[in-house]
Point group: C2
Chain length 283, copies 2
C-alpha cells in the first residue's frame, strides 16, 4: 500500500520526531518537505539529506499542494496551528500527528475540520530520546517502539490503514489500534505516571545527599527524570483525568506496602513481591 | 596491606554474593574455604575453582582455624548463626558481613561478641543480580559498584582499614565509610524505596492490561520488580523506621505534583521538572 500516490509528504514541525520521520521517509524514496519555525532547521535538514525542501512561512499554496501531511508539534501548538490555518489544507487530504495524548486533541481538531473534507487519523509513535531538535533526529529510535493508531468513527477505514502502513514503513516494532480513550488510559499509566514517579523521586531532598552512592536501581528509576518541562506539562494537563486516576492507583499500592511494613505483616509484603515478580517475568 | 597474614579466608554462606567473593579472592591467590548449607554448593564451587574446600557441618575446630571470616547470609540467618555459634570463632579474629541493613544487625552482634575479643567490622557490597545462588556468582558485578564500610566505636581502626582493603581488592569502584545510621538512611532512600516503588507499580491492576504497549520507561522503572521476597521482606523490616520516612518523603513529592496537576498549576509542575532535570544531569 502506498501512503500517498504522488509520493510527496509534508511534515509540519521538524524537531526530534519530525526530523526522524523525515529521515526515514526520505530514505524510503518519498519526497519530504518541511514547514517549521527556524530557517537553520531547514538548512540543516536539507544539507543532511533529510528533506527535499522546506519553508518557515505559512504559504497557503505550498500547504495546499500536499495530499498527506504529518504534524509533529507539541499538543497546544498543534491545536493553535489548526485553529489558524486548517482552511489552507487541501480538500480530501489525509493528515496525522505524533501527539502523546489523544482525547483532548483528536475530537476538537476533527470538529474544526468538519466542513473541510480532511481526514485526521491520529497516531502516536511511542518513541523518544532525552534530547531534542532535528540534530538529534534518528530513525533507529522507532525499531523497538510501538506505533498506536487511534481512529474515531469520523475516519475512513482506508485512511486508517494508510496510517498503519506509515507506522510499518517507518520501522516500528508493533502497530496497534486503540480508541482515543483506551490510548489515554494506557499512556497515563505506562508513560505519564512513570515520569511523575521519576520526577518525584528526584525532588526528594535525599537525592542531593546520596549522589555518591547511587547504584543501578536508582539510576534506572530516574533515567527519565531529565524531562522537557514544556512538553510534559502540556501532556499532563491534557490527560488530567486519566493521569490523576493512575496516580491514585499507584498511591494505593504504595500505601498498602507501607501499611504492611508498619504492621510487620511479612505475608502481606511477600504477597505483593510475588505478584510483582511474576508479572515482571512476563514482560 | 594484606587482609590476613596466612592468606586463609572463611566464607560463611555461599550464595550469589558469597560465591562472587570466593571467586574474586581465589583468583587473587587467597585460600578460600566455605561453610554453607548444601553439599552440592561445595562440590560446584570446588569444581569451578572458586574455593579450596568447604564444609556443611558446624565444626568448632574448622571455624576456629580462621583469622578472617566473611558472613554472606541473610540478616536474620546471620543473627541466628551468631547467637548459636559465635563462641567457636577464633579469639582475635576479624569478621565482616555483606548485609544490606546495618543498625539493627551491627550493634546486637557486637554486643554478643563483647566478651569474645572478635572485631566485627561491618560492610555492605552494593552489588547484586536478579538471580541467586553460587551458580550465578560473578566477580564482575563488583566493578561498577559501591562498597560501604560501617565502623562503630567498638572497631579497631587497623581492622576498619583491612575491610576497606577487602573492598579494594574485590574490585569495587568506590569504597566509602559511613556510620551505621548514615548507611541505613541512605539505603532506605536509594535502594529500599526504589524497590518498593517498582513493586507497587507492578501491583497496579493496569500493569496486566498494557503489557503489549510497555516501552522503555516502564521497563526501566520495573527492572528491579522481580524481587527475592524472603530477603527483601527481612531488609525492609530491619530498617523500618528509615524506610517509612523515605516512603513519606517520596509520597509528599508525589502528592505535590498531583496537586499541581489538579489545580492546573503549570509553573509548579515545571519547577518540579526543572529540579528533577538538573539533579538528574548531575548524576
Amino acid at each position: 500500500m502506498k501512503i500517498v500516490s504522488d509520493n510527496r509528504i509534508l511534515i509540519v514541525g521538524l524537531g526530534l520526531i519530525g526530523g526522524s520521520y523525515a529521515q526515514a521517509l526520505t530514505s524510503l524514496g518519498y519526497e519530504v518537505y518541511a514547514l517549521t519555525r527556524t530557517p537553520s532547521t531547514i538548512t540543516y535538514a536539507k544539507e543532511n539529506g533529510m528533506i527535499k525542501d522546506g519553508m518557515t512561512e505559512i504559504d497557503p499554496a505550498f500547504i495546499s499542494s500536499f495530499d498527506f501531511v504529518i504534524f509533529s508539534l507539541y499538543p497546544n501548538a498543534l491545536f493553535d496551528w489548526m485553529k489558524k490555518f486548517h482552511s489552507y489544507l487541501k480538500k480530501g487530504a489525509l493528515i496525522s500527528d505524533v501527539t502523546g495524548v489523544k482525547k483532548s486533541i483528536v475530537y476538537p481538531i476533527q470538529k474544526l475540520l468538519k466542513e473541510d473534507d480532511i481526514d485526521f487519523v491520529a497516531s502516536h509513535p511511542m518513541a523518544g530520546k532525552e534530547v531534542y531538535g532535528v540534530k538529534n533526529a534518528d530513525k533507529e529510535i522507532f525499531k523497538r517502539a510501538n506505533f498506536i493508531v487511534t481512529p474515531t468513527e469520523n475516519n475512513k477505514e482506508e485512511n486508517v490503514k494508510r496510517i498503519e502502513e506509515l507506522g510499518k514503513i517507518l520501522g516500528f516494532k508493533n502497530i496497534s489500534r486503540l480508541s482515543v480513550e483506551q490510548h489515554d488510559k494506557m499512556i497515563a499509566f505506562l508513560s505519564q505516571l512513570t515520569h511523575i514517579i521519576a520526577v518525584s523521586l528526584m525532588n526528594c531532598p535525599d537525592s542531593l545527599d546520596y549522589q555518591k552512592y547511587t547504584g543501578d536501581s536508582f539510576r534506572d528509576l530516574t533515567r527519565i527524570a531529565n524531562i522537557n518541562e514544556n512538553m510534559w506539562s502540556e501532556l499532563f494537563l491534557l490527560n488530567k483525568e486519566e493521569l490523576l486516576k493512575s496516580i491514585d492507583n499507584f498511591s494505593s499500592q504504595l500505601d498498602r506496602m507501607k501499611e504492611y511494613i508498619q504492621n510487620d505483616d511479612i505475608e502481606g509484603m511477600k504477597e505483593m513481591m510475588r505478584t510483582s515478580s511474576s508479572r515482571r517475568k512476563e514482560l
